[in-house]
C-alpha cells in the first residue's frame, strides 16, 4: 500500500579484474526500497472455529498449493498455533493477507527479523 519507493544505492565495480587500475570508476545502481525490503512473511494463526478442511481449501485457492502442502500448513497452524505460508515482497504479501482475511482466516503480515 505504501507506494513510495525511496531510492537506495549500492556500489558496482566497473572494469573489475587486474589490480593495476589506480582510480576505478564507481557506478551507482539504483534499487527500489521494495528490493531491499525483502522479505515479509504471511503468517496464519490458529483459530478454533475455522474448520480444518476449510483452511486447507483456502490455502489451496490463495497460494495455489497442492492439497498435501496445504494440509501440512493447516496442521502446522493447528498444532503450533501459526504457520508461515509465504514470504517475499511486501505488496504481494499484503495482497495474500487481504485474500486470507476475505476468507475469514486470522492472518498477519510480518517483517522477517
Amino acid at each position: 500500500m505504501d507506494k513510495s519507493l525511496a531510492a537506495a544505492t549500492l556500489p558496482v565495480w566497473k572494469n573489475a579484474g587486474p589490480s593495476t587500475v589506480d582510480n576505478p570508476t564507481i557506478e551507482k545502481e539504483t534499487r527500489s526500497e521494495e528490493d531491499l525490503d525483502l522479505p515479509w512473511q504471511v503468517v496464519v494463526h490458529n483459530d478454533p472455529v475455522n474448520l480444518m478442511s476449510y483452511v486447507t481449501m483456502v490455502f489451496q485457492r490463495v497460494f495455489g498449493y497442492p492439497r498435501k502442502k496445504a494440509e501440512r500448513h493447516m496442521l502446522e497452524v493447528h498444532h503450533n498455533g501459526r504457520s508461515i505460508l509465504w514470504s517475499g515482497m511486501r505488496e504481494r504479501a499484503e495482497l495474500y493477507v487481504q485474500q486470507l482475511h476475505g476468507y475469514l482466516l486470522l492472518a498477519t503480515l510480518e517483517k522477517v527479523g
Binding site: D2, L51, Y54, H101, G102, L104
Partner: protein, 170 residues
Amino acid sequence: MEICRRNDEIEISELDPFLAELLRQVPASANPEGVPAAEQRLFSPPTNGKETEICAEWKLYVEPELRRLFRTATETVAADLEQLNGNEKPFADLILRIPSIHADAWLSALNQARLVIAAKYNFTNGELGEHFRSPIGSRRDLSLFQVNFYGFLQEFILRELGAWEKGLGD
C-alpha cells in the same frame, strides 16, 4: 434432515421447523454489529501491531472492501433462504436448494455466523469440540449447537465444492 447434491444444486430436504429456523438465522447471526469481540474477529488487524502505518491504511482501504464482500455473501444467502418462507403449512418439512454458484457465498456466510456466535459467547476450545452437546438448556447451549450445525453444512458444501471443482459431477 437430508442433504445431497442434485446436478448443480445442494438440496437440503426434510428440514424440520427448528432447523429451518436455524438456517433463517444465518444472515442475522453473521452480523457482528453490537458485538465488539465479533467485530474484532471479522476485521482483525493485518499485522501483529508493530506496523501501525499498515494498520491505518488497512482500516481505510481494505476493511470497507471486506465489509462489502461479507455483506454480498450474506445477501446471497438471504435470497436463497426466501425459499423457506411462504409455506402454507407452518410445521411442514421444507426443502432448500442451494445453486453451486452460491456455494462460496454460503461458505462465507456460515463462517461469518460461526465466528460471530463463537466470539459473542466466548466459547472455549473444549466447548467447540463438543459436537454432540444437547441444544436443550441455555441460550449458550443452543448457540453452540448452531455453531456445530453450521459447521456440518460447511463440511458438506466443502466436500461437494471439491467434487465440482474436480469436475466429478453426477
